[in-house]
Structures are given as C-alpha cells and as structure tokens.
C-alpha cells in the first residue's frame, strides 16, 4: 500500500476535520488510562455526528461524546458512571431518552472482535461461559450477529464466536511518536494496539514528537507502524485529566469534579460549556485550568523519571568490512574481490 509519510504532522483541528467523518464507525483506542481527551473534545467542537462508537471501557471520553450528541450507537463492555442511585451519566441519560442504541460485551468478547479485525479474520472464538448469561440472550442493534455459535471441526464442541470489527477511524493518544507516525506506547497495554490496528484510519496524538532515531533505538515500544498512521498530532497534556505513564498521573480532583457534574444533564452541560466548547484547543484549556486552579496543581502530578533498563540492540559489527578493509567472511579487500571477479570472468560489460 502506498504510504505518504509527508504532511502527517498537523493540528488536532485538521486531523479531526480531515479523517473523522459523520456517521462512520469511530473507535477510542485507549483503555481506561491516557485516553485521547483532546481528540474527543475536538470532535465535540466540530459537532461531528452519527457515530457508532467503540470503546473497550468508557471513562470520561465516552460520556463527553454522548453528552455532545455525537453518538447514535455504542459498542462497549463498561462505562464508568457517577456513583450511587442519583449518579448515572450521559450514557444512562441517552439510554433512558431513547437516543442511544447499544451492544454490551465482556472485555474479552469486545477485544476478540478487534483482534479478529486486526488480523483480517472474519470472526474470533470466545469463551463459552457467556452463553449462560444475558449478554448472550439479550441482543441490541446487532441482533443475531452479536454472537453466533458454531461447531468446532476438530473437537465437535459448540464454540461461541464474535464477528470481527474494522472501525473506520481510531483516535488514540500515546506517549511519543515520530513525524512519520511510528507510535510508541508502554505501561498498561490493554487493547490499545488491537484497537488501532483493526481500524481503517488511525489518527495519533502524543505527548511528544521525537526524532526517528529514538524510535529505532526502542522499536519494542512501537505499537503502530508508520505506514498505518494518517495523522500525528503533538498535544502535551493531551490526555488530561486521565494519566499518561511517564508523563503525569490522573488529576483526581479535576476528574472527580467531572464525575460530580456529569451526574446531571445540567451539570454536564455546564462542564462541557466551560471545558470543551469554552476552550478552542488544548492550549486554551490549559490556560483556563491554570487561571482557575493554578499551575501547581499540574506540577504536583508530573511523573518523576523511572527509566526502563535499556535493551541492547547492538550487534557484533555494522559493516561487512573489517577495520583493515577486509571482507569479514572471505578475508579479502574490495580491490582483491574485484580482481577475482575479473579473473574468473564474472563481470559483464
């Protein structure tokens, strides 16, 4: 596949405007931590609509998109809610208002759909225990295609399956990437790589864009290779108030404030007006945060360094020719080699 590595670095505004299309299937790549908050907020600001949203585990990301009216259908396993009987959140409100269709899976079932999609398979076997539950018996908009049971051709046993998922666009936040799109992520791996790789388009935000040689020296951290990536956006604090390992912890105070506000429609609207619509981009959001609470709040959650022990990617040599100019295996110089070629009649004019 042709891969244009030029012009992938852009703003969140441009990336969302170019690659996130109304009515398509959208997947949040992150799982529980370090979610792509700025991309989510930008989708709301651009008033994108009609998504079938995939999320392994909804934190504030899913509720913000549902609050903004961007989501028609939701495929998930878990959505965090403001606690208690008076709690709830945007997802509960939308279900009760009849404006949201949904499909519930278990964590493994959902992830299996992504893994099938990422490898190009049409379905994946999942654990049969779910057949004893209402996850299996109660179907949402997918109907019969939520789960299907087949017979294993080898053992003759009944096997539960889920269909592959190949969402149109994955939005994802990672620690670092290069300008070509090689995206590096570490820590809690979750289903992050699968969510990105099963998708047709991938737009990546990162805490920092690094030089390509940083990627080359640590390829085991690369979860998405450049050729799959459509856009790279550098957004420091791009996951705030969720956390990014090695960069910052969860902002528990701010997150708690969101959870409180999100318990009611009015509270959620006020919060969205202030922190999503009221800030034109992440820089404006951080300015507003600093004005209101002080930068000390952010400084107190900055990560201290605890570096991974470097892995030795070195080899015995990086040239076929040794320090005396002799080829390592044949023990001759380039000149001697060319002479031999000529003597043995190996060269064509």
């Amino acid at each position: 596949m042709a891969n244009n590595n030029e012009n992938k670095v852009m703003s969140a505004r441009e990336a969302i405007s170019r690659f996130v299309v109304d009515g398509e299937q959208l997947i949040i790549g992150n799982y529980t931590v370090g979610t792509c908050c700025e991309f989510v907020y930008e989708i709301c600001r651009q008033e994108k609509k009609g998504f079938t949203l995939y999320s392994q585990s909804g934190v504030l990301d899913v509720d913000v998109l549902v609050n903004a009216g961007c989501v028609d259908r939701l495929v998930t396993t878990y959505v965090l809610r403001s606690g208690g009987k008076k709690g709830g959140g945007a997802v509960q409100r939308a279900m009760q208002a009849g404006t949201l269709e949904w499909e519930d899976y278990t964590n493994f079932n959902y992830n299996a759909r992504l893994v099938a999609g990422m490898h190009g398979f049409s379905f994946m076997q999942v654990f049969e225990g779910v057949m004893a539950t209402d996850l299996f018996t109660k179907r949402g908009f997918m109907g019969e295609d939520k789960y299907r049971v087949i017979t294993c051709p080898y053992t003759g046993k009944k096997v539960l399956t889920v269909p592959a998922a190949n969402p149109d666009t994955c939005i994802i936040h990672v620690q670092r990437a290069d300008r070509y799109g090689n995206a590096q992520y570490w820590g809690s791996m979750g289903s992050v790589a699968a969510a990105a790789l099963c998708s047709k388009k991938i737009i990546v935000s990162c805490e920092e864009i690094v030089e390509h040689d940083v990627i080359q020296a640590s390829p085991h951290f690369t979860i998405i290779p450049a050729y799959r990536v459509n856009a790279v956006v550098e957004i420091p604090w791009g996951a705030h108030p969720t956390e990014v390992l090695g960069y910052y912890n969860m902002d528990r105070f701010f997150y708690g404030m969101f959870m409180q506000e999100n318990a009611t429609a009015d509270g959620a609207k006020a919060w969205m007006d202030e922190w999503v619509y009221g800030c034109e981009d992440r820089e404006a959001y951080l300015d507003h945060y600093a004005d209101k609470f002080g930068l000390g709040m952010l400084d107190s959650i900055r990560a201290k360094a605890f570096y991974s022990t470097p892995a030795n990617y070195g080899s015995a040599f990086t040239s076929a020719w040794d320090e005396n100019g002799k080829e390592r295996a044949m023990g001759i110089t380039l000149k001697e080699m060319e002479k031999t070629m000529e003597e043995r009649g190996m060269l064509y004019e």
Binding site: Y31, T32, T76, N107, A132, T133, W186, G187, F293, G294
Partner: protein, 274 residues
C-alpha cells in the same frame, strides 16, 4: 485491646485473608487492590498480583485508581495485553479473582449491568467489563458487595455464579469443574456457598451486627451456619498497613472526597484563585 478500626479497614483485611501464598490473583479495583497489597505484604509474599489490563506481578505502593493503574507501582514484571490476560485465565492459570457486585442472587449469579429493564433501564450500571470472563474461568472468585443488594431474581445476569444451584454449573459443560464464587463479603458479614446446594449462607458476622440485621437485607430465608462466628478483629499491624498504604480507603470514599475538595479549594484560594 488493639486500636480501633473503620469498617473499610475490616473489609480490606478480611478480603486479604482469601489470598494464599504462591497464588496467581486477579484484582478488581477499589477494595480488592488494597486487599491484594496487604496480603502480599503480610500473608502471601509470593502471590502474583495481576490485572486484566495486562499488568502482571505488580507491587502497588499507593492505592490504585483503576485496573490499569501502572502509576501505583514502580514497574512490574510483565506487560502483556488484555487478550492474553483473559486467555491465561481461560487456560486455568488464575487461582483466584476478586470482583465487585451490584446485585446478587442466592446462587451467586451477578448483575453489574442495569437496574430495571435492560432496554429501558432505571439505572444503567457500568456493565460486565471483565467480570463475566473471570468468574467463568478463575479457579474460584471472591465477591465484595458494598452498596449492592440481594435479590430473588436478577434484573440482568451479567456474570455466571452457580447458575440454578446444585451441580448446574458443573453440568452446563461451560466452565471448569468446581469453579465459581467461593465467598461474598458485605458490610455486614461473610457468606459462603453450601457444598451441595451451592446456596449462599452466612458464615461470619461482623462485630456489632446481628443475624437479623443481615436477614433484613435478604429477600429469601437465609441459611445461617451452625458454626457462625464473628469476623476476626484486625490486628494493629494490619490496621497500620492499610492506613499507610491506602489512607483514603481507611477513611472511606465520602469523607475522603469531601476533605480532598476542601484541601484543593483552600490551596487555590490561598493563591488568589477560584
């Protein structure tokens, strides 16, 4: 007489005693992670603590925010993915799993999906997450219920317990033999499952609680163990550990949140903000 303890401290410490040394343990968020840290520090130093996010063999230093909280420890032994965390459970490598409960029936089947009609819920709860997968294939599962309820019939069966009791779980052919929930911890006592009928019975009662207090919460005629005992009182060493490790859990969410907000507002106001 040892020092006074909070209800949360009693629960964490009681929960921790369900972990044996050398076990592979899947921890859900909240109380179970504090229990896991306590068990590893005091009773089960060789246990491997694991979470579904693929964090394997971690030693938490502070209380966790959720099941993907790599910030709570200083590195960990293996970073695998969610898919593999579940398939290792399916293959039988997980000895015990800890799960939170919203609704439970007499055979330990769980609902964490909704209250009321699934398609038009009165309350929408978080959903299965990994619960249905783990309770299906972990060696056994320990349940904790803090704000939930006992019901005759679940509004939605999210996670399979002992199904309709007796041998029904084993006979279904869907689960490893003799797996399923082994214990339920609530704010009032400890429940276990009858070996034959697989029905919940009250095994231990927390200090200061009566059997009637417990019965009032249960809509069926609750069986009570003839050897009913009082939940063991925490030692100073256990209490000190929980307070050091997870002071906000010792304090309880409500008071801890109130004090946190006060502290942040005060700090901002001192700097002329807010």
């Amino acid at each position: 007489m040892s020092k006074g303890y909070t209800l949360n401290e009693l629960l964490v410490i009681t929960c921790a005693k369900e972990i044996n040394d050398y076990e592979n343990v899947i921890l859900g968020v909240g109380l179970p992670t504090a229990a896991g840290a306590l068990a590893k520090a005091l009773y089960a130093p060789h246990a491997s603590l694991m979470m579904e996010s693929g964090i394997i063999d971690f030693e938490p230093l502070v209380s966790l925010n959720h099941i993907a909280d790599a910030h709570s420890c200083r590195g960990f032994s293996c970073a695998t993915d969610l898919f593999s965390a579940f398939t290792m459970t399916y293959r039988g490598f997980v000895d015990v799993c800890f799960l939170g409960v919203a609704q439970i029936d007499k055979y330990g089947n769980l609902n964490t999906t909704c209250i009321g009609d699934y398609y038009n819920p009165t309350l929408r709860l978080p959903g299965s997450g990994g619960a249905a997968d783990f309770i299906s294939y972990a060696g056994h599962t320990v349940l904790t219920m803090l704000g939930g309820e006992f019901v005759e019939k679940l509004d939605y069966l999210t996670s399979p317990g002992h199904l309709t009791g007796g041998n029904s779980r084993n006979d279904s052919g869907l689960f490893p033999q003799d797996s399923g929930p082994s214990m339920l911890l609530t704010t009032k006592g400890v429940f276990r499952f009858d070996a034959e009928t697989k029905e919940l019975y009250l095994a231990q009662i927390h200090p200061g609680i009566t059997v009637d207090d417990v019965r009032n919460d249960v809509p069926w005629d609750l069986k009570v163990s003839p050897e009913l005992s009082e939940t063991e009182r925490p030692t100073d060493r256990e209490i000190d550990f929980v307070r050091q490790f997870a002071p906000t859990i010792s304090m309880g969410r409500e008071v801890a949140t109130e004090l946190t907000i006060d502290s942040v507002v005060k700090r901002a106001q001192q700097r002329g903000k807010m």
